[in-house]
Point group: C2
């Protein structure tokens, strides 16, 4: 990959990258389309990155289907797919890590220590290996997006970042590879997540300014289903990710919840008079 | 710098970089010459990097002479010198750091917490800003060299590293910008540092295999001068920097000592039957 990227660079061919962990869905493919017109060669990587998983997490059972992924990426216009081995990415003696302070601490950072350092490190490696000039990430992983934006700026990386809107199922559930873990019954229950966010969006634009009240409302919608266990509901500044007490201009509402044993995350930016669209398909 | 580097890259012009903190001496200039034939454009940076200094260290009084530095670099064949401001390198909100585990822990790492993270972070930024394809560093900063080598490999940076031998004064003292802090009397006393290393080199090649015995001998040569305070004497594996008990193939002898208030470091690789040259100008 490194040699091929060096060749491309010498030829003046620019590469755009969508880093993924495979088992692709429409969210990933929308990111490939986002690269259209922004680079000469659209590329994706498929790599289930071990260093971003905690010890008790789902690294071992993370779903894989490389053959189907390669077909989908070819259809979406990818001219190159990079699928490294973990042993090549992290050979014995590997000991370097990238930390993005502060932004890694709230939300998922509180429950997944080391996760964002693992993400930042692998993304930096992928950028260096592919020498991409543009890369696309999804806003469903909102905290990740902000951390990578900061990393690119702080380290003066010559890479432009694009961010794609969350793609949702008909009933509003955000697309995620981990949705594959859900039983049919859990899948229905999972609707509570976009429902809670859509409730917050509507009430924040209508009558509720107090973040604690919004947070309490979200939690009660989620926990009205006994199979749901809330990990966090946070209302934060969309840039700094610092907690907000009142819905001012714009507030990020971020949620992590277990449905059965499956951990789902989702988020929405809300605010009074904001032009945020309702989540399509959700009736509150 | 970033825009100029992008232009150079588009034109297929390769850049070689010598990162420095200025107040240059022959050691730096020898690194510029090391780039000869390895790139199209020889470049240096001058930046006294605040994040690699501890709170009680000499950031405020670190010597500067940009005008003389620029002359010396031009004479040495540098076609470009990058002199950024600290406020541009670390704007408000900066929060990313690079850590190279294990290698940062022994030797200087024990006494300068955060130092090597500061070095790795700024070097990565300079690599990204200049898009250099080759960079040169001095082996007087041996631990730094090993850490940067590891970082480049671990992060898949498209940069070749070159390392220059330590350049010494007539009496064996390693060149260092910090030598400028020494009074004439301290300058003479500082000879004890290369003298102790040269003693270790000779005895390790002749009769002493035990690292504790070598370490004790080095310390006693250093402390025979009352103005010298030893910070560490370490005998370690030259790759892993892990402590060694016996002089096997090759052992790195690394020393840090204060002469008055000036901290000096130096090192030498020793070993039985090794072809290591004596330090020129030192009589033990």
């Amino acid at each position: 990959m490194a040699e091929y990227a060096a060749d491309l660079q010498r030829q003046g061919v620019t590469l755009g990258l969508v880093p993924t962990m495979g088992y692709l869905h429409e969210g990933h493919l929308s990111l490939v389309r986002l690269l259209e017109g922004r680079c000469d060669l659209k590329a994706a990587s498929i790599f289930v990155n071990p260093i971003q998983f905690g010890q008790d997490e789902d690294l071992g059972r993370y779903p894989r289907d490389e053959e189907r992924d390669l077909e989908l990426l070819a259809e979406a216009g990818c001219g190159l797919v990079f699928c490294p081995d973990a042993a090549d990415m992290y050979p014995s003696g590997f000991r370097t890590s990238v930390e993005v302070d502060t932004l890694s601490q709230p939300m998922c950072g509180r429950f997944r220590p080391g996760h964002f350092s693992g993400v930042a490190t692998v993304v930096l490696k992928l950028f260096n290996l592919t020498r991409c000039s543009v890369a696309a990430f999804g806003l469903k992983d909102y905290q990740q997006a902000q951390i990578l934006r900061r990393m690119v700026e702080d380290l003066n990386l010559p890479v432009e970042l694009l961010f794609g809107e969350t793609i949702r199922e008909q009933d509003g559930l955000a697309l995620s590879t981990r949705n594959a873990y859900l039983s049919p019954r859990e899948r229905e229950t999972a609707q509570a997540v976009p429902k809670a966010l859509e409730w917050a969006r509507r009430r924040a634009s209508e009558d509720i300014r107090d973040c604690t009240e919004l947070s309490r409302g979200i939690s009660s919608i989620l926990t009205s289903r006994p199979e749901v266990r809330v990990q966090y509901v946070e209302l934060v500044d969309p840039e700094s990710l610092e907690p907000r007490n009142q819905v001012g201009e714009r507030v990020l509402v971020a949620v992590a919840a277990f449905v059965g044993t499956t951990r789902l995350i989702d988020n929405l930016i809300v605010g009074p008079g904001s032009t945020m669209k309702p989540i399509h398909g959700v009736n509150v």
